[in-house]
């Protein structure tokens, strides 16, 4: 019994002695290094690191903890449903309340303490509606220098129901995008029917009776040919050499000619 017990230790110590002495003392150092590494690793790696991936999962909570400033449109509707009902029937329906009135979460929590912005100055409306060639075609834009410069916009265009002060003309009712584009062009004072022959049935069956486009160059030549007397400021071209077989509108978009301003 006794020999059997001592045998493995004897075997082990013999094996240990067969390892060179310098390796034995170095391995002690090695074990200390491994233990220190494991301890240091535990100490340095943050607690929640690696829970869901190669990051601290506390970081998600840090991102969540940011206080919000904007309440969102649904909250506004809870009290101001009357204004919302008006707004939803007009072109500004896509604009959230806080786009103009500023961040409103504080106002929703304490309506009397935190008043919201009510931008009434021209500059605010103009930040969207001033003419800028980079803006999409058809977006309603004005030249702020010439468009009633001294009047605040709201006098004619109530911001929650921003319709035009006059009801749209016959063509504009359907072709408002073309109409707003035309307002920016040199041709703004021409009426649609100057160029397009519109039959009465077009209003009943618009696709079956499509208004005609000008088929000859004579219409444009009235103003743009050399030697004509109409429209003194209009650019002149030599009809004989300019354009070849093409009708004018095949190169020049008349609702918004390339030559502007």
């Amino acid at each position: 019994m006794k020999t059997a017990k001592t045998k493995p230790t004897k075997w082990f110590s013999e094996k240990l002695k067969s390892i060179p002495q310098q390796i034995r003392s170095l391995s002690v150092l090695g074990i200390i290094f491994v233990v220190m590494f494991l301890f240091g690793r535990k100490l340095l790696i943050p607690k929640t690191f690696g829970e869901y991936g190669y990051y601290r999962s506390v970081a998600v909570d840090l991102n969540l903890a940011v206080p919000a400033r904007y309440a969102g449109q649904q909250v506004c509707a809870e009290c101001h449903d009357d204004i919302m009902a008006v707004k939803n029937q007009h072109p500004h329906r896509t604009i959230a309340c806080e786009a103009c009135h500023g961040p409103g979460l504080a106002h929703t929590e304490a309506p009397d303490e935190h008043e919201l912005l009510v931008p009434e100055e021209r500059e605010f409306c103009i930040s969207c509606h001033a003419y800028n060639p980079s803006r999409p075609r058809g977006f309603p834009q004005i030249d702020s220098q010439t468009h009633h410069p001294s009047q605040p916009c709201m006098e004619c265009h109530p911001p929650h129901a921003p319709t035009l002060p006059h009801s749209p003309g016959e063509c504009r009712a359907c072709h408002s995008q073309v109409a707003t584009t035309l307002e920016e062009s040199h041709h703004q004072f021409m009426s649609c029917t100057d160029c397009h022959q519109v039959v009465a049935e077009h209003k009943i069956h618009p696709r079956e009776h499509i208004p005609a486009l000008p088929q000859s160059r004579e219409l444009c030549a009235d103003c743009h040919a050399e030697g004509r007397e109409a429209a003194v400021d209009a650019p002149r071209i030599d009809m004989a050499t300019h354009g070849g077989n093409y009708v004018c509108w095949q190169c020049h978009y008349p609702h918004f000619p390339e030559v502007q301003r």
Partner: protein, 252 residues
Amino acid sequence: MTKNQTAQTRREFLKRCLQIVPAAALVPLSAQAFAAEGYDPTQHDYGMGIDVHKCIGCGLCVQACKIENQVPQQPFYFRTWIERYTIPVEGEILVDSPNGGSQGFPPNPLDPKEVMRTYFVPKLCNHCAKPPCVQVCPVGATFVSRDGVVLMDPDYCIGCRYCIQACPYGARFMNPVTRATDKCNFCYHRITKGLLPACVEVCPTQARIFGELTQRPNPLARFRRVNKIQVLKPALNTEPKVFYANLDGEVR
């Protein structure tokens, strides 16, 4: 006397330890309380759509983003910004973004006769499915969350700026206040509560659409169904989750 004192301090020490235990247990609870109740990040896969044709360059999104996320008001710090592309008839393409477009845009510096076409492009972090910025972070301070948003860990960021260099979209900056890298996080504190990101909320023309990639129906799913979609720099294989409709080939 001294022995008595130490005994008292030891007692006090143990008392304090007992007080700390329940307080420590409460900390993770309060952190979880920020998210909406029952919010499961594995059930979401967020993305954004941008219709370039609809952007009017008003800068409301840039302003709202700065307010909502407390981005420093000085120039050059933006989580989202607007670029104006002007393609002249001849010569180099002009791209400008004065103050990120937050105060709108001045008249085009080029003569209208020289301009072939011009448009605005809103930009932000693309929340790539394969983000190069996450690849290079040496400490794991930026990561893709389980709901597909690329988030920052501002407390853990060491400020080495590797991610700023790695981002091909220039969406990251060094926040001088937190001294950590900062970027768009889709207003993570809002979207987890069911609100829209601030930029999407205030966009007057609905040029920005927010929604989910896999779940239907939602506004982004419709946006991707009805439009022809492009992403920025597709050749880099970053798989962005910000989708552009009506994007011009010149946009980088």
